[in-house]
């Protein structure tokens, strides 16, 4: 059964050209899906429409047990979001707070209003946060303020925050675009580990075609808001890369 089903998704920011045009695909539980496409092709828009940080103009998004994401309001929407992690290119951590506090933010969606406001977490939640931080090799940085971390470490905190949500899927919007190649590889390896060992679905926007091919089982290619490629990573050949990237493809063609 599909974990995520996107049907006829369309997004107009303004009347001229749609950022997404009639996009349909579905993702099964446990898949590693990479979304590629030239700059401005709608990758970020797609990811943010899925968890409703951006409101889609038209279409249906079915996620897990939440039903149609686009129909949810208030509490229901927040509940649906708790089961759907997200990590960002710029990490989006509260830099003045500690690593541990940032990770525990992943639990907020599950908390009552007061416990959430005052940051009161249960013993299990704290244990879970410590466990996840250890998994990501951050056990020595727990009490460090986030602005004292390197980019790669910050992104690992981002992953930890998503993991304590107990999500079935994690959305990643170019998580390695601000990192050096070494840290980028570490992050990608952790995401693969999360997918393989915890069975969490990874849905990731990438700029790097080679990285997408190396890690993803399946690739979605976008061009000007249209889904122009949807298939296993092995089927992404030079011809398909040309279709996705148009004239920019020459720099990306691999021999």
């Amino acid at each position: 059964m599909a974990l995520l089903e996107v049907t006829g998704l369309t997004k107009y920011y303004n009347k001229d050209a749609p950022a997404l045009k009639d996009v349909t695909f579905s993702v099964k539980k446990g898949e590693f899906v990479a979304v590629i496409g030239p700059s401005g092709s709608g990758k970020t828009t797609l990811i943010r429409c899925i968890n409703r940080l951006i409101e889609a103009t038209e279409g249906k998004i079915k996620y897990s047990k939440a039903g149609d994401m686009l129909a949810l309001r208030g509490r229901e929407l927040r509940q649906a979001r708790t089961g759907l992690g997200m990590i960002f290119q710029h990490y989006n951590l509260v830099s003045r707070l500690s690593v541990l506090e940032n990770v525990l933010h992943g639990r907020l969606g599950y908390k009552g209003p007061l416990a959430g406001i005052f940051g009161i977490y249960t013993e299990e939640e704290k244990a879970k946060a410590v466990e996840v931080l250890t998994l990501l090799g951050l056990e020595d940085f727990m009490y460090r303020r986030c602005d004292q971390l390197s980019g790669g470490q910050k992104q690992r905190v981002g992953i930890a925050r998503a993991l304590v949500q107990d999500p079935r899927m994690i959305l990643c919007d170019e998580p390695i675009s601000s990192l050096d190649p070494g840290s980028a590889k570490v992050i990608m390896d952790y995401l693969r580990k999360v997918q393989r060992e915890m069975g969490i679905t990874i849905f990731i926007n990438l700029h790097q075609v080679d990285v997408a091919r190396k890690y993803a089982g399946r690739i979605l290619g976008f061009n000007k808001g249209k889904l122009v490629f949807d298939g296993p990573a092995e089927e992404l050949k030079n011809k398909q890369i040309k279709e996705i990237y148009g004239t920019e493809a020459d720099d990306l063609i691999l021999n």
């Binding site: 940080l53 927040r78 997200m86 960002f88 933010h105 406001i117």
Partner: protein, 270 residues
């Protein structure tokens, strides 16, 4: 013609136009100064020429004497009133301003209509000068320190709302987004993302507001018959310039110390 040469020409035109705007702006400023000084009969040469004379005259009349020093305890007493009033009006205004800023800022506004409303109210409040507020409340509450408090409160509230909105939009966009994605509710987002990311700047703005308010409190006191402004008015009108000047020195010392204190605090928290 190739498109790259058209583009180059367009870029050139763009840069030249920007330069033209800058020259026009500077020229305009000079012209404006000339015209306004003409209109107000202000003459730069005479103005600057009068400076030495002013210095001599003030040295003669404004150096505090023993009698002025005798009045110091009373001045300090009134000064304390003024400082407290400034702090109180700034802090109360900050509380309201924070709520309005949350409602009005692009990052956190829960609803478009209330956002416009909050921005509108703040805009009106800060565009009425503090003196006008004082006049308005004078009619209702008469000469009292409460009138002064209200006048300071309303301008501070309007200004702080705007500063806070800018701070929120600048500092907390990314963390608000992250917590929304996690499924956090609005109050949780405010408590766990907005406040931690913006607090140092918010405090810094409040400190700035206290400084500004101590300065305006003097002026407002003149009108509302309270605090330091009131006794300044008293000394001045009874031609006791030496006491008035001691008061001015006192005000300067207090304002400077507040500035030093708040700069130190600011450096600590930022």
């Amino acid at each position: 013609m190739t498109s790259s040469s058209t583009n180059a020409r367009a870029a050139n035109l763009f840069l030249r136009r920007n330069k033209l705007y800058l020259s026009l702006f500077i020229g305009g400023m000079i012209l404006l100064t000339a015209v306004t000084s003409r209109m107000t009969d202000f003459n730069f040469r005479d103005g600057i020429g009068a400076v030495p004379k002013v210095i001599v005259w003030s040295l003669h009349n404004f150096v505090p004497d023993a009698k002025a020093l005798e009045r110091l305890p009373k001045m300090l007493d009134k000064m304390a009133d003024t400082v407290f009033m400034s702090i109180m009006s700034s802090v109360t205004a900050a509380l309201f301003a924070f709520l309005f800023a949350l409602t009005g800022s692009v990052t956190t506004r829960p609803n478009g209509f209330f956002a416009v409303l909050a921005r509108g109210i703040a805009l009106i409040n800060r565009n009425i000068p503090v003196v006008a507020w004082a006049m308005i409340f004078l009619l209702t509450f008469g000469q009292s320190s409460f009138t002064g408090f209200l006048a300071l409160f309303f301008t501070s509230f309007g200004l702080l709302t705007r500063f806070f909105m800018e701070t929120i939009d600048e500092a907390s966009v990314s963390t608000v987004e992250a917590l929304r994605a996690v499924g956090a509710s609005f109050p949780q987002i405010v408590a766990r993302a907005v406040i931690p990311t913006t607090l140092p700047q918010l405090v810094s703005w409040i400190l700035y507001m206290i400084e500004v308010n101590i300065r305006s409190a003097t002026l407002v006191g003149l009108l509302t018959g309270s605090g330091i402004g009131f006794i300044f008015d008293l000394y001045y009108k009874s031609l006791q310039y030496k006491s008035a000047s001691l008061l001015v020195i006192l005000i300067m010392v207090v304002v400077l110390s507040i500035e030093v204190i708040s700069n130190t605090l600011r450096r600590k928290i930022l």
